[in-house]
């Protein structure tokens, strides 16, 4: 499938950049004219992945988070969120609903579950001390 458009942005792992990432992603995918629900689903999935990179990848220390978005000919959007932080010891365990390593912080443990529910496909690549890459895809409904 041909790539129609592509973008990449890097930002510091500061929590104030969670909204920056959401707004940037929604501005880029707006060219596909998604409906309100599709737009909201993508914003939420991006927010979860970027929050994970900040809290779990860099453990609230300063690092660089990379977001790449590719738009394909068939209205499929592929969003990659990458960090070079701690990595995940057991990806399957991390993807289990309600699993969280932050007991004191009131984290819901729903991050990956939200990504999986709101996107069509979520792939997670991770290695300890090297970082984590989350690749999410969603195909938008045909435009009117």
């Amino acid at each position: 499938m041909n790539i129609l458009n592509e973008m990449k942005v890097e930002f510091l792992s500061k929590s104030s950049n969670e909204s920056f990432a959401r707004i940037t992603a929604s501005a880029f995918i707006a060219q596909l004219d998604p409906n309100i629900e599709e737009m909201s689903d993508v914003k939420t999935a991006v927010s979860e992945a970027v929050t994970n990179a900040i809290i779990h990848g860099y453990k609230n220390a300063v690092g660089v988070v990379t977001m790449m978005i590719r738009i394909f000919e068939d209205r499929c959007v592929e969003i990659t969120i990458l960090d070079k932080g701690a990595g995940i010891a057991d990806v399957d365990e991390a993807r289990t609903p309600l699993f969280t390593t932050c007991d004191g912080e009131e984290r819901s443990g729903m991050g990956f579950t939200v990504m999986e529910t709101f996107m069509d496909q979520v792939e997670v690549f991770s290695a300890l001390s090297e970082g984590t890459k989350v690749v999410m895809r969603k195909t938008f409904a045909k435009g009117n």
Partner: protein, 112 residues
């Protein structure tokens, strides 16, 4: 993210304006908990009419308050979530622990 409080007897209404994510969650949590330390409130209502976005960080904030209020026998409700916020509430299974109140509910009788 802004928060405005209204009180009515033992009910505390927290009106949220803007986006509730990991970044804004800690401030909201602190402000609500400060209000609740008085111990006079038995009902906490999060009014989400002006909440434009919420991710799973919001589920954590609400669940934390549900646990705190349960200690004093109180309950937590969410009012007027937009469809996307409501989707998140259902997905987190939060609807088992809270009531979701909608503006139109109170109008139903008169509108028919």
């Amino acid at each position: 993210m802004q928060i405005v409080f209204e009180t009515n007897g033992t009910t505390l209404v927290a009106k949220l304006y803007g986006e509730l994510d990991h970044h804004s969650a800690s401030g909201i949590r602190e402000k609500v908990d400060l209000k609740l330390t008085s111990g006079i409130y038995h009902c906490l209502i999060f009014d989400f009419e002006n909440l434009t976005f919420m991710d799973s960080s919001g589920i954590g904030v609400i669940m934390g308050r549900v646990k705190n209020m349960a200690v004093v026998g109180g309950k937590v409700s969410v009012a007027n979530p937009n469809p996307n916020v409501e989707k998140m509430l259902h997905m987190g299974g939060l609807d088992k622990y809270i009531s979701i109140l909608k503006k139109e509910d109170s109008f139903k009788g008169g509108m028919r």
